[in-house]
């Protein structure tokens, strides 16, 4: 019995090892929460209004995952306040989106890295003709 004991112990450890891979890497980030979905649909609706301004170069994608008024001259004077409002609202949603994704995954400290990931992907997926900030911060046309 005493001689058998170590084998039992080992078997227990081996069984534990089999469980480890199941618990280890989460393949996907959680992005399906009520808060994230609400922000997403708000951004989706706003995009219809923002898209022409991306196209004209009035608004561009910044290197830190936000949007900014790049060239206000592309917008007729009476509409400028509205564009500023759109940009401010969009940025508010984007900050909230990055924070919510980090929080939904139990790592609020990931917010900055999530923002950086998004910054890169917004630019990568932007349409030809849109403006974005390159890593040095200079406005560049895609």
């Amino acid at each position: 019995m005493i001689k058998l004991f170590p084998w039992r112990w080992s078997a227990l450890v081996l069984a534990g090892l089999m469980l480890v891979p199941v618990a280890a890497p989460a393949a996907d980030l959680e992005i399906n929460t009520p808060a994230i979905n609400a922000i997403k649909s708000s951004m989706q609706q706003r995009h219809a209004q923002l898209a022409p301004h991306y196209g004209s170069g009035a608004v561009g994608l910044t290197r830190d995952g936000m949007v900014a008024v790049r060239d206000a001259n592309q917008v007729a004077l009476p509409k400028r306040a509205a564009v500023n409002g759109l940009v401010a609202a969009e940025n508010q949603d984007r900050v909230a989106l990055y924070r919510e994704i980090a929080r939904a995954n139990g790592h609020p400290e990931w917010e900055a890295e999530i923002r950086n990931t998004f910054a890169q992907r917004w630019i990568d997926r932007a349409q030809a003709g849109w403006w974005y900030q390159n890593p040095a911060g200079a406005w560049t046309k895609k």
Binding site: P25, A26, K40, H47, R121, R125, Q127
Partner: protein, 69 residues
């Protein structure tokens, strides 16, 4: 003696595995984040007129011209 070594080896492997799990959870999952970003961006930008993918094939002749700059 051999049994003791085996026990130590198995125990060491178990400890390493547990340490591995902790490591995976602490470090930022860059690939998963990229995938999540792509899914969200696709949804937010899906309603845009004209092309959705920047690498889409050029419009066939006769199709309404896209205002491009």
């Amino acid at each position: 003696m051999r049994l003791k070594n085996l026990r130590m080896a198995v125990g060491g492997a178990a400890l390493l595995s547990i340490a591995g799990c902790v490591t995976i959870n602490i470090y930022f999952p860059a690939a998963a984040a990229e995938k999540a970003a792509d899914r969200i961006i696709e949804e937010v930008w899906q309603g845009q007129p004209g092309e959705i993918r920047p690498k889409a094939a050029p419009e066939p002749e006769g199709a309404p011209a896209q205002p491009k700059q």
